[in-house]
């Protein structure tokens, strides 16, 4: 495959925990992202799933260079983004954009749609000269399926789905190459979710975009993604193509997640085996030794507590279609009923 547009290597982000009134003492670290590696290719969508607090949003912030990483590297078109300064960094800010989760708070209520979508042009005036900005904004509104005449309206005059379209138009303004979607549809109604996801899909083919699509809804991710990474406590548990993850998951955590997805078929109710995990997600301040999932895993043995399973290919080449990296000592496909 061609050179990846974005490649992440051993990315680590720890937030120090400080205690004390006058003299702050570091008592520990929240290991929000703890050694994440993946590649994103041109025109590809990488879905990132995981439950709340597994480090998905922190990953997005680090990828956007809003937070400095503790260690690790992210290369964009062959250059490490954490080494970029000045003009190069400005260029990067044009090439990587983000769509935020909540369309109700991600748009400034005091600005008109024209100002919101046109704001990126203010920061990067070289993209569109001042005279043509308004027209560019109207084109963008048209592209995302909004009426260009509504340019002078305020966000509160739009519905949730329309607001998210405004957010997408803002992200598209600078013609980025990569868009990071931080749970872009989880605040929307189900019917609207489909519209917004289809829009994202259309835009991808039209502009050749690459997406990092962060979500906690497995069916949403499947609809849009070419490849999927499953995160648990700051690490990737399993990564692979959409079919290999959804049809042949080998990591127990992925299997448990998938078994919890509701299936719209009453015939199957009760016949499906739902894996119920016990306990809560351990604190990211003090993650379990070895495999992080072992405290809730039904397969856990002493080996899991001692050795951390690396994210490597587990099946021995029996089927190229199913083969994908998984971070489990006892990775194996598990038959489960899928409609």
């Amino acid at each position: 495959m061609a050179e990846p547009i974005l490649s992440v290597r051993n990315l680590v982000k720890h937030f120090p925990l400080r205690v004390g009134v006058v003299f702050k003492r570091v008592v520990g670290h929240v290991r929000a992202v703890d050694g994440v590696s993946f590649d994103l290719h041109r025109g590809e969508t990488l879905g990132v799933v995981g439950e709340s607090g597994c480090g998905k949003s922190t990953l997005a912030q680090v990828l956007m260079r809003l937070e400095p990483p503790t260690s690790g590297a992210v290369t964009f078109e062959g250059r490490n983004i954490f080494d970029m300064r000045g003009a190069e960094l400005r260029r990067l800010r044009r090439d990587i954009q983000i769509v935020l989760q909540d369309p109700y708070t991600s748009l400034n209520p005091r600005m008109t749609v024209g100002d919101i979508v046109g704001e990126p042009f203010e920061i990067h005036p070289e993209v569109a000269p001042k005279a043509s900005r308004r027209q560019r904004v109207q084109e963008l509104l048209d592209v995302v399926g909004l009426n260009p005449e509504h340019i002078n309206r305020y966000p509160h005059q739009f519905s949730g789905g329309q607001r998210q379209r405004i957010g997408i138009a803002r992200a598209l303004a600078l013609r980025p190459k990569v868009i990071i979607c931080d749970e872009p549809v989880s605040a929307l109604d189900v019917s609207i979710q489909a519209q917004v996801m289809n829009l994202l899909g259309e835009l991808q083919t039209e502009f050749g975009l690459s997406y990092v699509f962060i979500a906690h809804d497995l069916s949403v991710v499947r609809h849009l993604s070419d490849r999927v990474a499953v995160m648990y406590l700051g690490k990737i548990a399993e990564i692979g193509t959409e079919t290999s993850i959804y049809e042949h998951p080998t990591h127990p955590y992925t299997q448990a997640l998938l078994s919890a997805v509701p299936v719209p078929d009453p015939e199957l109710r009760g016949r499906r085996e739902v894996i119920r995990l016990s306990g809560d997600v351990p604190s990211p301040v003090d993650p379990p030794s070895g495999c992080r999932f072992r405290t809730r895993c039904w397969k856990a043995t002493d080996l899991c507590a001692e050795q951390e399973p690396p994210l490597t290919l587990r099946l021995d080449g029996s089927d190229a279609d199913r083969e994908h990296p998984s971070a489990c000592h006892f990775a194996e496909p598990r038959p489960h009923v899928v409609a």
Partner: protein, 332 residues
């Protein structure tokens, strides 16, 4: 001004004619900037325009009035002590024969300027200091809040009183600056608190993702979202400043005789408010009118800047449209 009012009417009618539930969409493509949008919404509010026109008129009156009147504010008419308003002394005279009209105009000049200047300045300082402290946090926040606490514990009245002889004879602008310097701390603390919550909102994060510089985020995303607070604070400060100036002048600091301000006039006139009402009523009336108009303007400005406040006007327009429809239906 007439031009502005005409435009407001036009904007109102096109909005109703177009039938849009919100801002006049038909001519939306032409009006480009947000500034013009706010201006149009401001001009649509009649009371705000009235307030603005009246403040302007008061200013004109304060500076043109003395040129028309036969008396100067320091002149004394030894033939008329404590006379009620007449053709030669429009607002009457004082105990020592000074012309109340000339004095009121002179006082109006001072008080209006001091009030508006202090109101705007102290709010501006509060907004900048509070937003910078809240947005940047860390040592910037700590230093600025120390300064605020320091100024809060200083008895401002005494400081102004002690400092005023130093600039006696100099411009009263210095006096206004001093008043402003002691009027911003409480608001700065509130602004800081609101900034702390606004900073975490997603649209601020989005702006940071985009690479907006910090000062730009403060100016475009944080301060506009507390515009209501700032405008209300500024209008309140105008009244407070006039009163503070009154108080200081009463004790002999601030505006010094033979110069007068509305404050000194009210202070001296209030003792005989019931027996010789013209000494008190004119100065008090002008002060009330000025503060009222500032409040009207502030209210209009707040509604113009706050986009969701437009619902009231939209509903009124809808009712008007419904009435027109009913009338037509009845005729048919």
């Amino acid at each position: 001004m007439t031009l502005g009012v005409r435009e407001a009417k036009r904007a109102g009618t096109t909005g109703a004619g177009g039938g849009g539930p919100v801002d006049a969409a038909p001519d939306g493509l032409r009006a480009s900037t947000r500034g013009r949008l706010v201006l149009r919404r401001f001009l649509r509010s009649r009371s705000a325009v009235f307030g603005l026109v009246t403040i302007a008129a008061l200013y004109v009156l304060a500076f043109v009035g003395p040129l028309l009147a036969p008396w100067d504010h320091t002149q004394q008419d030894y033939s008329a002590f404590l006379r009620p308003p007449s053709t030669s002394h429009w607002f009457g005279t004082t105990q020592i024969g000074e012309d109340v009209f000339a004095q009121t105009m002179r006082g109006l000049q001072k008080s209006l300027t001091i009030g508006l200047l202090v109101g705007l300045l102290s709010t501006l300082v509060a907004a900048v200091v509070g937003a910078v402290a809240g947005y940047f946090g860390g040592w910037v926040d700590r230093v600025l809040m120390w300064l605020v606490d320091l100024l809060l514990v200083l008895p401002s009245f005494l400081v102004v009183a002690i400092a005023s002889p130093a600039f006696r004879g100099h411009s009263w602008v210095l006096f206004a600056l001093l008043l402003a310097a002691f009027g911003w701390m409480l608001t700065a603390r509130i602004v800081r608190g609101m900034t702390l919550t606004l900073r975490e909102r997603e649209f601020v994060r989005a702006a940071r993702f985009m690479g907006q510089p910090s000062w730009h985020i403060i100016a475009r995303h944080i301060l506009p979202n507390m515009a209501s607070l700032l405008i209300i604070d500024a209008t309140l400060n105008v009244g407070t400043a006039v009163l503070a100036e009154t108080g200081l002048s009463y004790f002999g600091f601030g505006v010094q005789p033979p110069d007068v301000s509305l404050g000194t006039l009210i202070a001296s006139g209030s003792r005989s408010a019931l027996t010789f009402p013209w000494l008190f009523l004119f100065a008090g009336g002008f002060l009330t009118l000025a503060v009222l108009c500032v409040n009207l303007v502030g209210d209009g400005l707040r509604a113009a800047i706050d986009p969701s406040a437009a619902r009231g006007t939209a509903r009124v327009r809808g009712a008007r449209r419904a009435r027109r429809f009913l009338r037509r239906a009845g005729a048919a």
